[in-house]
Structures are given as structure tokens and as C-alpha cells.
Chain length 420, copies 2
């Protein structure tokens, strides 16, 4: 029996070394042996409680690791962030490198979590309706749950979220009196900001019940409920004509096989004369989101390759005007979120349990590692209809102070006149 | 016979009305009838000399019009630029809208002009080796034959071409001592600018014999021949390792089915740690270049849909950091070129003939109309390898004055330190 057990250990060891590639990690089986890539100083030690966990890891590393970490059956000694970065750096993106089991369950997960109208509602409910009190513990004061824009790396999270809202509004050169539709509005901060600071009218869609209630209450308190309408409905039911289509952090919930339909919805809303912005988590190469994240945290989530996302615009002849990659800003945003989350862990544990705390720590730290290592990217895409007016002459005005901004608008009028 | 001829006229008239769509154009057949879209004031009148020309127009409008205009068998009375804009606005992009003849000859043109190593040399020779004296008549003093960057619309062409060179260098944050490979270097201005102003070493490739001779002579005169090497060879033969891959206005000569190979060449040159920039004429939707332009002016030319161009980066996991659309700057650049060309038309006619002058006028004015109407776009794509250092924190420094730029570099060091 001892021989048999040693044979299994040797086989498992070989599987694990293959899975971690050249990652500087030491893996220890409690009451058993340890594995590490030779001649590399490990950044962290992974302690695996038992052979069952080890076996699960071998069959399905992504879900196996996440579940075991949440359960406490796996512990990471040392720097969790550096450990996750090392994993992302050595983990191949290509689906072919995954185990047959992972590939099979990824497919069935796709079907199970299909973002049909009712499927989307179920998926969104599971994540966003965890309770506003939970998100208040670690998001900024205005509750923005998307990548911030840090004018300098030392900006606070609150400053950076406000700067992000201004960044997207200025990219679209919102003008007073214009109409905007926002697809997926979270807790409503951006819709309210656009109305308050840029004088536009906004119709905002979201299928998270808790978020819509929160947003409506805030609009009432700010006296903006005449200017901003929060609608509890799916983006596929958007109706009306608008000057601008805005969507920050919702494309992640749209499956790639629905991009043509998404493009149709945009076109139905702003036609050939409008303009818009999509802000979304993407990738350099096609790959699925971590199956553990899709299973336990974020059902139905998808981060497309940039090329794939352009399928939204091409059939309707939308011109891409500007794409900015802000992955380092998402890493920084997650750094703030994780820090606040760690400071609130006792409250989170009291609201849920220790397992929930560990799962969310892994999710936040893992996402940060993914953005730091470039496994995930954050894209802002500005696009315009084939018969829209030019938006800007150069992007310089986007980086000028607001005083200079006004001069630039005059300058814009001047050159538009000069061109005609 | 009269009845027969009237029947033909009626049939041709119907075909033409279909072809011009709703364009505000009046078409007159010399010694015959005239056709115009009802209730629209025409911006120009097209005078067609004879029935043969009319028939050619119907069979193959693109090549038929270009050839007849160059021959003088078609004249445009009124505003040629406005006429061409009207044509582009009413002309559908979709190949399905083209005649069977156009589709058939487009395919055979693809084969005939295939950019094999020898095919490319033939194609490039036909366009770029027309003689430096010809291009000197209407390009800027440094001979840049690509879209300029106008900090303001009133900048001169010389200022705008220098600003373009700085714009691409600053986007890549070239540092003294780095190595750059330039694929398709024209008359060498950018390579010399990078070496002189940014202190980098450059290896520059071009298969146009006349351009390489010109560039080498300029490097010698400026004493930069130790720092810049001009190589008369195809980009597919690029050898060596570099920090940066730069290509401004060459992708138009690479067929889309060779993008994977192009990505391989980039990867061979800069690996996973380098960065690069592609500047190219593109589109919002897939379509072929005007067949007349490919037949008479620019053999082997191709302007890809942006999505298609991203096929270069995706297989090698290059991250897209920044995409800027500068189509209005190309329209402005062409405005300057056309103006200078018109002022030199007697010299051009003396070098070639009146037919050549008309053909090039149509090419320049038609390209301007295509960029003005959005039928063509100009993209600058900054990309970086999966293991490259971050290039910037925000794009703000790109728009700051050089004095501030230095502070920003310190700032960059600071946050890179802060992140580690």
C-alpha cells in the first residue's frame, strides 16, 4: 500500500509541476511531500490539507483551487498577490492547455449560464444583489464598481472614480441638452454625474433590483429625477432615440455570440449620427474567464479579445475613433478595493461567513494579478456613426484644464467652419 | 434605329440612376440627354463625351470613370471635391452592390497584383519610383508621403509632418540608445528624425530603389549614417533584435492574408518585451480599394477593417495600448498635397502628360473625399509585448509641453517604483 501511495504521489507531483509551469511556487502536502520548480526561490508556499484536495486540483485546477482556498483546505503562506501574479505569468491563456475536464465543464457552464433575458436576471441577481451594505464596505462613496481613472497613481479612489466619470464624458464631448442612454448603470453614479455636471438627460437601464432602488433614491435626493430615468430592465429592451450610447462595465455580461445583436441595439438607439463609448474588461487573446470566478462569483461573465469586441461596431459601419487601454488603472483600483475589503473583513464575515471572505479575497486579489500581468486588459472604445459630426480635432483638449477646454471648443468650431 | 437608340439610352439612364443612388449629380451625354436625381440641386455636372464612355461606365463604374476622366472623355463641371464626396456618400461600401464585372476583375486583380516578394517589388516600383522630382513638387520639404498630424488645423504641412513624427515617437516613448526597426521607410525622414531627435539607432527597410538612394544620401549629409542604416530589402527579410517596431504607411501594401506572417516578423524582431506602432489607412468595414486606384495608381494596395488589422497582434498576445483615428488629418494632408499639385500642374504635365495630371488629380481629390466622408480612416495603433514594461500611466504627457514631459518621466519612475 505504501508503494501504491508513493506511485500516486509521484504521478500527482508530475501533473502539478506541469500545471504550474515555471512558477516560483512551493507546494506542500500536509503530512506528505513537497514540490517546487528547481533552482527558483519560491514567492509563496501553498499548503494542501489532504490528498482529496490534491486530486481535485489535478482534475480541475481552476475550480479546485478556488473552492479549496475558500474552504480553507488550501492555504497560501507568503504573499498572496505575488503568488497569484506568478500563477498568471506561468499559466497559458490557450484553452488547449487546460485539462479535458476543464474544457468540458467550461462548455456546459456556457450553456447553463446563458445570458438569455431570464438567465441574465439570475446571473446579475447572484452578484449585484448581494446587498448594498456589502459593497458599501469597500467601494468608493459613490459606489462605482468599475475601473477608475487615476490622473496620478497617488490619487484617492474617490478622486479617481470622479476622474473616470469626467474622462468618459469628455471623450464623448457631452453637450447640455443632449440625450444619453446608459446600458448597465450600476448604482447610478455615472448617470447622475452626466446629468449634474454636463446638463444632459439620461435614460439608464439595469436589471439589478437593489441597484435600481438605490439609484432612484439618490436621484430623488439630488433633485435629478426629472433629468435621469432609472429603468429596471434589460439592455435588450432599450427604447427611444438618443445622441449618445454609454456603457461602462456591462459588456462583460454580454456573450460574444450576441455582439451583432448588441450592435443592432446601439444602432436602434443612436442611428448613424450618434456616438458612444464602451468601457469593458477585455483581453489580447480569446480566453474564458476563470471558471471558478464564473461558477462562484460572477456567473455569465466574459472578457472578449479586443478584435472580437469590434464585431459590435463593424456591421453597422461605426467608426472607431479612440481606444485606450487602462489595465494598470484597474490593477490600482483593485488594490484600493482589496485594501478596504481587508479592513472590513470582520464585518463581511459577520454578514456572511469566513468562507465568503476567503472567496472574495481570492477573487479581488486574483483579478488584480490578472490586470497586473496583462492576462486581462481594460479598454475604453469611443465610436461614432457613419454620418456623425466630428468629435474633436486632436485629443489634446481631453488633457487640458477645463478653462482651456472652453477655448478648445471655440477652436473646434473654428476648424469645423474652416473645413466646410 | 432611332427607337432602338432611345431604348438603349433609357436602359443606360436607369442603370446610372441606380449607380449614383441619391447623389446630387447631373449627368449629361454630349449630343444626348441628361440624367439627375429629381428634386435635388446638383453639386456638379458630369459631361460624358460619347455613348462608348457611357457604356463603359455602366459595365464598370470605378475603372470606367477613372479612365474616362484621365482621358478627358468625361469632364466634371463644378466642384470636383464636392462631386467626389457626394459619390462616396451615396456609394455603398458593400461589394455586393458592385457589378458582376467589377467583382470578377477585382478577384483577378488580387491575383495579378499579389504581394509576393517579386510582386511587391513590381508594385512598389510602379508607384514610388515615378521619380523623386515628381514627389518633390507637392510633398513637404522632408518628403513624407503619409498622413500628417496637425496640432491645429492651421498648421503648415511642414509643421504637421514634423508633429506627426514627434507624435509617433512620443507615443512609443523612445529613449536614447534604444534600437528601432522601421518597416517601409519612404524617403527616410522618420528614421533620421528618430535618430537625430531621440538618440536611437535605426535599421530601416524599403524596396523602392529611388527612395533608398535618396535616404542614404540624406543620412550621409546629416552625418547620421552611423546611426541609421537604410536597407533596400523587403520587410519580410528584416533580421535582428530591436526594442521598437515602427511602421508608418506600409501596412497598406500588405495583403490581409499575410497578417499572421507580418505578426511573426514583428515578433521575430521585438519578441515579448518590445513595443511598436503601426500607422495605416483602414476602414470601419471590409472593402477593397477603388479598383481604378489599384489598376492605374497604386497596385497591390489594401486598406483593412480595423478588426482585421488586429489579427496581426492577437496570435502573438500583443496588447493594444492605444488606437487613434486621424482620418480628418489625412483629409487635411491631402488638401495641402492637392493644392501644391495644382500649383505644379504645368511642371507635372511637362514631366509626363495631361492625362497623368488628370489621373493624379482624381486620385488625390478622391482620396481626400474618402477620408472626409469616412469611407477611409487612418489608424495609429500602439502595441506592446506580453512581457514589456508599462509605457505610460496616462496619455496626458503626450499632450504636455516637452518641459512638462521631463517631469512626467520622473513621475512615471515614481509610480513604477510605487507599483513594485
Amino acid at each position: 500500500m505504501l508503494i501504491f501511495s508513493r506511485l500516486i504521489d509521484a504521478w500527482l507531483e508530475e501533473k502539478i509541476l506541469k500545471a504550474i509551469g515555471r512558477a516560483p511556487i512551493r507546494i506542500v502536502l500536509e503530512n506528505g511531500g513537497s514540490v517546487a520548480v528547481p533552482n527558483v526561490a519560491p514567492v509563496a508556499t501553498v499548503i494542501i490539507r489532504d490528498r482529496r484536495t490534491l486530486a481535485e486540483l489535478c482534475i480541475d485546477p481552476e475550480v479546485g483551487f478556488g473552492d479549496a482556498y475558500a474552504d480553507g483546505r488550501i492555504q497560501v503562506e507568503g504573499d498572496l498577490e505575488k503568488f497569484l501574479e506568478a500563477v498568471y505569468e506561468s499559466w497559458p491563456n490557450a484553452p488547449a492547455a487546460r485539462s479535458w475536464y476543464a474544457r468540458l465543464t467550461s462548455k456546459s457552464m456556457d450553456l447553463w449560464q446563458a445570458n438569455t433575458l431570464s438567465g441574465s436576471r439570475r446571473n446579475i441577481h447572484r452578484h449585484y444583489d448581494l446587498g448594498n451594505d456589502f459593497y458599501k464596505l469597500w467601494l468608493d462613496a459613490q459606489m462605482l464598481y468599475t475601473c477608475a481613472y487615476f490622473p496620478t497613481p497617488s490619487a484617492t479612489l474617490e478622486e479617481a472614480q470622479t476622474a473616470k466619470m469626467d474622462h468618459v464624458c469628455r471623450k464623448l464631448r457631452l453637450q447640455p441638452g443632449e440625450t444619453v442612454v446608459e446600458a448597465g448603470c450600476g448604482w447610478g453614479a455615472l448617470s447622475l454625474h452626466m446629468a449634474r455636471e454636463y446638463g444632459v438627460s439620461v435614460k439608464a437601464y439595469n436589471i439589478s433590483h437593489e441597484q435600481i432602488l438605490f439609484a432612484r433614491e439618490r436621484a430623488r435626493q439630488e433633485g435629478l429625477n426629472g433629468q435621469v430615468e432609472f429603468i429596471e430592465d434589460d439592455y435588450r429592451n432599450i427604447s427611444g432615440k438618443f445622441d449618445v450610447f454609454m456603457s461602462v462595465g456591462m459588456l462583460e455580461h454580454v456573450r460574444a455570440d450576441r455582439y451583432a445583436e448588441f450592435g443592432e441595439i446601439i444602432h436602434r438607439s443612436i442611428g448613424d449620427t450618434g456616438r458612444g463609448l464602451l468601457h469593458f474588461i477585455g483581453r489580447s487573446q480569446e480566453a474564458s474567464f476563470s471558471r471558478w470566478i464564473r461558477k462562484r462569483i460572477f456567473p455569465g461573465a466574459n472578457a472578449p479579445a479586443l478584435r472580437r469586441a469590434l464585431e459590435i461596431f463593424e456591421p453597422r459601419n461605426y467608426a472607431v475613433l479612440d481606444i485606450e487601454n487602462l489595465r494598470l488603472h484597474y490593477a490600482k483600483t483593485l488594490e484600493h478595493w482589496l485594501d478596504r475589503f481587508e479592513h472590513s473583513q470582520q464585518q463581511v464575515a459577520a454578514m456572511y461567513d469566513a468562507r465568503f471572505v476567503r472567496a472574495w479575497r481570492l477573487y479581488l486579489a486574483g483579478s488584480m494579478a490578472a490586470f497586473r500581468t496583462g492576462s486581462l486588459q481594460l479598454f475604453q472604445v469611443v465610436f461614432a456613426g457613419s454620418r456623425s459630426e466630428p468629435l474633436w480635432w486632436t485629443r489634446a483638449s481631453l488633457y487640458a484644464e477645463p478653462e482651456i477646454e472652453i477655448e478648445k471648443i471655440d477652436e473646434k468650431k473654428r476648424w469645423m467652419h474652416a473645413m466646410s
